[in-house]
């Protein structure tokens, strides 16, 4: 099976007033069609940077891609200029963020925003090059020829309305006809995140990047949203790159998991072997940190220390100062991601 997304030797640096931070250091990964790949790690490990860099959303003033390529359907997204990448961003490659309320426009009704997205998709299919500058324009032109009373006179075209309702129903919003006419602030967190998913899916994306999509949600809502994502993924045949800090969430929905530490991939394995037999000491350390039992029967074994300062990371393996199994070689030489049996790979001298 050909890979949908293939990242090779990818490095990103941030320039800050107090030095250069290597946020991603020689990251390589593949994403297969119709696969849910979870990127797991603690804050500062580079997982969000990875998600953002795929669709060219890195802050241009501070971030630089210092090496590597991001091949999407064998086209290098890094080399595309900002206009070209807009043909992919939000369309073929859709994205959902942690805070659904900040991702939706507060001044447009939910239905209008989805209708707009559908309109873009149709124009795109006809071969128009559509990107965000055009979006407002096209939408306004089609919905209201004379705009004296912009807010009140806006109406969703009837042919689009049915499709909008279909998408809202797809993400299990019960009273779709009413939700259509609401503004994002009138909806709960779970509902807005569903609207975001509906919008993303309306583009029929081949790849969906979900950056902590359920972190701001309650557990019962989180369960609903994750279940929905997993079901829809098979229904509309898309691949999902799920960025999360929560190992438990990853274990529940992912097909494959990549564990990141300090900008590097520590381990890459299918979900079953990762959780049953973690290879990298960081992975096993992280697993031992998650409380699963009761205090009188189970003891938590936290990983000692804290994540290193990425402005001057330790020479050798970045995890070595915290690693219970560190050897002499770990403090001097940097390990590489090496293939292991069962189609997994790990970056650790214990397995080289």
């Amino acid at each position: 099976m050909e890979d949908l997304l293939s990242i090779e030797g990818f490095s990103v640096k941030y320039t800050t007033s107090s030095g250069t931070v290597t946020a991603l250091d020689n990251v390589s990964l593949d994403l297969h069609p119709n696969e849910l790949l979870a990127i797991v790690g603690e804050s500062g490990c580079g997982k969000s940077t990875l998600g953002l860099s795929i669709i060219g959303l890195l802050p241009r003033s501070t971030a630089t891609v210092s090496s590597g390529s991001v091949l999407y359907k064998s086209k290098d997204l890094v080399k595309l200029d900002s206009n070209k990448i807009r043909e992919y961003r939000g369309t073929e490659i859709a994205m959902i963020f942690q805070e659904p309320l900040t991702s939706l426009s507060p001044v447009y009704k939910v239905g209008e925003q989805i209708a707009e997205a559908i309109m873009i998709r149709e124009l795109r299919k006809k071969g128009h090059k559509v990107h965000s500058d055009l979006m407002q324009h096209t939408y306004t032109k089609q919905t209201q020829k004379i705009s004296r009373l912009p807010r009140l006179s806006r109406k969703i075209p009837t042919d689009l309305k049915n499709e909008v309702i279909d998408y809202l129903k797809l993400v299990r919003i019960a009273d779709a006809e009413q939700v259509l006419d609401r503004y994002p602030f009138e909806l709960s967190g779970g509902m807005t995140q569903r609207v975001m998913i509906a919008m993303a899916l309306s583009q029929e994306p081949a790849l969906l990047i979900a950056d902590e999509p359920t972190t701001a949600l309650d557990v019962t809502t989180q369960a609903q949203v994750l279940k929905l994502m997993k079901e829809l993924m098979h229904k509309v045949e898309t691949s999902i790159l799920l960025v999360t800090h929560d190992l438990a969430v990853a274990s529940q929905v992912a097909d494959r998991v990549i564990v990141m530490y300090a900008g590097e991939i520590a381990e890459n394995a299918d979900v079953y072997s990762l959780f049953s037999k973690p290879l990298h000491p960081y992975t096993s350390g992280l697993l031992a940190c998650v409380p699963t039992g009761y205090k009188d029967t189970e003891e938590l074994t936290p990983i000692a220390g804290t994540i290193p300062d990425l402005r001057n990371p330790p020479t050798g393996c970045k995890f070595a100062p915290r690693c219970p199994r560190a050897m002499d070689v770990c403090t001097t030489t940097r390990p590489h991601l090496t293939s292991q049996e069962d189609n997994r790979s790990v970056s650790c001298f214990l397995y080289e």
Partner: protein, 328 residues
């Protein structure tokens, strides 16, 4: 274990008034019923976890118990004294009761050195001399696993986990008997969370502390507590020993909550099996009757007429459900 009761609340309520519409003269009064009749008991050396989703009133309950906001009704008894009415000597109260908040960033003064931050409550609450205070600061820092020279640092020089350690050091510096922990690890990474949880357990053993732990994280509540109180829309819906509540939840909401909490084991995909619809109701206009009834799989028409009371179904185990026999 001693069975001395350190804190008990009886039917505590906390309503926040909201004005209806834009009319400033409107006489119609509406309330957010954040906490609506909660009775819990915390015994010495024990941890009671209050779990629930956002808006269920768990943080308001903690703030009400700590008298950061006065209760609207009900009774709070702390160390044998009624602290919910009459004149309360807060100096005496806060020697015995301390709180740790979710965000260590905002609970420390950015311009105060760590040592000053820890000494501040001691100066106000204890009639100690300067060298006694210095000694207590050192003792507290040591207890939370930080060396003495951290006293000279500023919060911005510390990591999130270290800041939370300082906040805990400050809370235990007055040698309280009850510490209210409001989401103490929610802002922290997994590896740091484990460090803090372990520290809290060690401190509890060392200083015989009682904890009231407010959390949305079932795994944390399960690991840390002796008793769990599950809150939903301002009510406690289930209360009992942690192990029984986790393994044999009886209230339909507790069942849904526990099965929605993801467990880090791909061979047990609990998350994708959950069937729970809807979301937490509005606290201003909660549904009539049992507040969980619109989402409940067992609900019958009777449930929307009367809100069930918390009843003892077996010793120490309380459930507020009309049809508790259905979940047996």
């Amino acid at each position: 274990m001693s069975s001395e009761t350190i804190l008990s609340t009886e039917n505590v309520t906390k309503y926040f008034p909201v004005r209806k519409g834009l009319n400033p003269f409107s006489k119609e009064k509406r309330f957010i019923r954040a906490v609506d009749g909660v009775s819990i008991t915390i015994r010495k050396g024990m941890t009671v976890a209050v779990v629930g989703e956002s808006g269920c009133g768990k943080t308001t309950l903690a703030r009400t118990v700590a008298l950061m906001t006065p209760p609207t009704g009900g009774k709070i008894v702390f160390s044998g004294r009624d602290i919910s009415s009459g004149r309360i000597d807060r100096t005496e109260l806060y020697k015995e009761m301390q709180m740790v908040f979710q965000d260590p960033e905002s609970s420390l003064d950015p311009r105060m050195k760590v040592g000053q931050s820890i000494a501040e409550p001691l100066r106000g609450l204890m009639s100690w001399k300067k060298d006694e205070i210095d000694e207590a600061v050192k003792r507290s820092l040591k207890a939370v696993g930080l060396s003495e020279d951290y006293a000279q640092r500023l919060p911005r020089q510390l990591s999130g986990g270290q800041k939370q350690r300082v906040a805990i050091a400050r809370a235990i510096s007055t040698q309280p008997s009850l510490v209210i922990l409001d989401e103490p690890t929610s802002a922290l990474d997994a590896s740091v969370q484990a460090q803090i949880l372990k520290l809290l357990l060690d401190l509890q053993k060392e200083f015989k502390l009682s904890y009231m732990l407010i959390t949305h994280n079932i795994a944390v509540a399960q690991y840390m507590s002796d008793y769990i109180a599950v809150m939903y829309a301002g009510n406690v819906v289930e209360y009992g020993p942690t192990k029984t509540v986790i393994t044999k939840p009886r209230h339909p909401y507790t069942i849904a909550l526990i099965s929605s909490a993801p467990i880090p084991d791909p061979t047990k995909k609990n998350l994708l099996q959950v069937e729970i619809k809807g979301e937490v109701p509005s606290a201003i206009t909660p549904p009539p009757g049992c507040r969980f009834n619109p989402r409940c799989p067992y609900a019958e028409s009777f449930c929307s007429e009367q809100n069930p009371a918390l009843e003892e179904i077996s010793p120490q185990r309380f459930v507020a459900c009309h049809f508790v026999q259905k979940t047996a």
